[in-house]
């Protein structure tokens, strides 16, 4: 919950300069896919293990306003942590050029890597207390799938967007995107790696538009 609040805060904060002239709002609901299957950890040769099961993260969508917007001068650094053998958050939308930190909050090694065309990297193994925290700058548009070389089940996503106007839905699919500039745009809802829905929108100042993605 706190994370979502932070996200909201970040989204709002990052578009402040533009928001002075921008006051349109879009809200609505995205039809989310059925809940993910619960992950299973393979610990066949890790005979000394703890009890417990992996948490299931509900699917969320990212709603964003597509268009040619001026690049932001400074972008806040974001974080994708590794906690309890999962990525937190499991999905992070960021504007292109964002630096993301990958803190390890577990007592065990992780080895985060990505082979996605939008960003190819391998952070190697680093201890939780090591500083500086390893980072990567996401400077190419697209979807980046985060994986761990040690824990096969670990999967995280970073969606690198060309826009400062985006928001994550809640678990019911509801979203509210405010401080938008007036004009004609395409509103997109990213649902999963294969599904992005879109609708043309015409935004007017001080007006709230209601859009649903069935």
């Amino acid at each position: 919950m706190r994370l979502r609040g932070l996200l909201w805060f970040n989204a709002v904060f990052s578009i402040m300069p533009v928001a002075l002239w921008a006051s349109a709002v879009v809200e609505g609901r995205v039809e989310l896919p059925k809940s993910h299957t619960a992950p299973v950890q393979a610990k066949r040769y890790e005979i000394v293990t703890k009890g417990g099961v992996l948490s299931t993260q509900p699917p969320l969508a990212v709603v964003y306003l597509d268009g040619a917007f001026p690049k932001l001068a400074s972008l806040p650094t974001k974080q994708v942590a590794q906690k309890d053998l999962t990525f937190v958050p499991a999905l992070l939308p960021v504007p292109v050029g964002t630096k993301v930190e990958f803190p390890n909050l577990d007592e065990t090694y992780h080895n985060i890597f990505s082979y996605s065309p939008a960003k190819r990297f391998d952070l190697g193994r680093y201890r939780p207390e090591e500083r500086p925290i390893p980072t990567q700058v996401f400077d190419k548009l697209g979807l980046v799938t985060l994986r761990c070389d040690i824990h096969e089940h670990m999967r995280g996503l970073i969606l690198v967007l060309n826009t400062p106007y985006f928001v994550m839905t809640d678990t019911d699919g509801h979203f509210r995107l405010s401080g938008l500039p007036a004009g004609r745009y395409t509103l997109k809802a990213w649902i999963d790696s294969r599904t992005t829905r879109e609708k043309p929108v015409e935004l007017k100042n001080d007006q709230t538009l209601h859009i649903d993605f069935p």
Binding site: A38, V40, Y115, F121, T145, S193
Partner: protein, 405 residues
């Protein structure tokens, strides 16, 4: 122009690699089920290995083939299941040309199955029952094709010594020079591969220390057939254990020990009168160390082993290896491993003192490339040299393409 075509190809590959990864991720989701509010979760996964070996005769290690170029495909299926938060089950079945690379026809086996109970969340105690890899040493966690930087095992896990578990030697001469008279698989290494013997284990973690002890139906040197509980009961169990210490995440140190009779039942009639299988044991002491940081991983294992051999006495051997892996890029890694096995002398009044197998040194070089997070190609070259006796050499070239799902 060439460059442009190349970069176009590279781009196409990248794009299709992304699609392949996406496909496998979807397959993974399709092969994972959960029920009873996620309290029962199960996942089917696996690997498909296509291996080619080229070597000189006699074939090195545990390879059993009279053809010098051996094609060895292998399909491995894993089932991992979680019931609640304290019960875990896994199995590994394989379709291949034999447990070790050989020129046999196809066979299907259930190589591992185990039920694990972890009563406390902190992991102080874990009980496991079934047929599963030994707790000894530090090679087991990386013995499968995806994790192993090499295509084969370290020397001590695959070098056949003069030890034979199916029949006792009738003289010291027969023991030391048996290689000339018996088939390859008449002999045993100190540890046969991952040793998937049947039995139970108790393990756990206490702060920076961890422990694991197991009672298995077969010794570390025993052959894959002996691991099945249907073939070999618990009349002559082997006890093994490992005590581990992790000063921090980068280091993992361990001491292992194992003890148990190594002859199979059919050897009983060949033993000296009045003796039985329980009188001839394999003793193993092991020390292991592992280090990992950033893109480097290093492993070392030392093994001292003693076999009590009828009509011969104690046959001692010492083996070790040092292995290092480095990831040069996110997708490309290299690995190097230096292995050595040295043998002691055995003696009797008639024959005098003689080394019971030839000392051996082997260097393994490997390079691997991960095309996607589900496909990997490894190439390996090994040079093996007998440092005593006739000083025979063997060169092995191998390639392995692994697809995991």
């Amino acid at each position: 122009m060439k460059l442009r075509v190349l970069s176009l190809c590279a781009f196409a590959c990248t794009a299709c690699a992304f699609d392949i990864d996406d496909f496998f991720d979807r397959l993974d989701t399709a092969l994972t089920i959960s029920a009873f509010h996620d309290n029962l979760r199960a996942r089917l996964s696996g690997t498909l290995d296509l291996e080619i070996y080229h070597f000189e005769q006699p074939a090195p290690g545990l390879i059993d083939s009279s053809i010098d170029t051996l094609f060895n495909p292998r399909l491995t299926l894993f089932l991992d299941a979680q019931v609640g938060s304290h019960i875990y089950f896994f199995s590994q079945s394989r379709l291949d040309r034999g447990f070790d690379p050989s020129d046999n026809g196809a066979q299907i086996r259930l190589d591992e199955y185990a039920l694990r109970v972890t009563p406390w969340d902190d992991g102080r105690l874990t009980l496991q029952i079934g047929k599963f890899a030994t707790v000894v040493g530090n090679w087991i966690p990386r013995h499968l094709s995806w994790e192993n930087p090499f295509i084969n095992a370290p020397l001590v896990y695959e070098n056949l010594t003069s030890i034979r578990d199916k029949s006792a030697p009738f003289s010291l001469f027969d023991f030391v020079y048996g290689f000339y008279y018996y088939q390859k698989y008449a002999f045993n290494p100190v540890i046969w591969g991952p040793s998937y013997a049947s039995g139970i284990s108790v393990s756990g973690r206490l702060d920076r220390f961890d422990y694991a002890v197991e009672m298995k139906n077969a010794s570390l040197s025993s052959r894959p057939e002996s691991w099945n509980v249907t073939e070999n009961g618990f009349e002559h169990p082997t006890f093994s254990g490992r005590l581990g210490f992790r000063p921090n995440e980068a280091w993992n140190l361990g001491f292992s020990a194992s003890e148990g009779p190594y002859f199979r039942r059919e050897a009983e009639t060949t033993l000296p009168p009045g003796r039985d299988i329980g009188d001839y044991r394999e003793f193993v002491l092991g020390q292991d160390a592992g280090f990992a940081w950033r893109h480097v991983q290093v492993w070392v294992e030392f093994y001292e082993a003693r076999f009590e051999v009828p009509r011969v006495g104690n046959a001692d051997t010492f083996a070790y290896y040092v292995e290092a892996k480095y990831k040069f890029t996110p997708q490309f890694f290299g690995a190097i491993r230096w292995n050595q096995q040295l043998f002691g002398d055995v003696s009797n009044p008639d024959s005098g003192s003689v080394r019971w197998s030839d000392d051996l040194a082997r260097i393994d070089l490997a390079a691997g490339y991960r095309f996607t997070s589900h496909t990997q190609l490894k190439l390996q070259y090994s040079y093996q040299h007998e440092t005593t006796g006739q000083g025979r050499d063997n060169h092995l070239v191998a390639a392995q393409l692994t697809t995991r799902f």
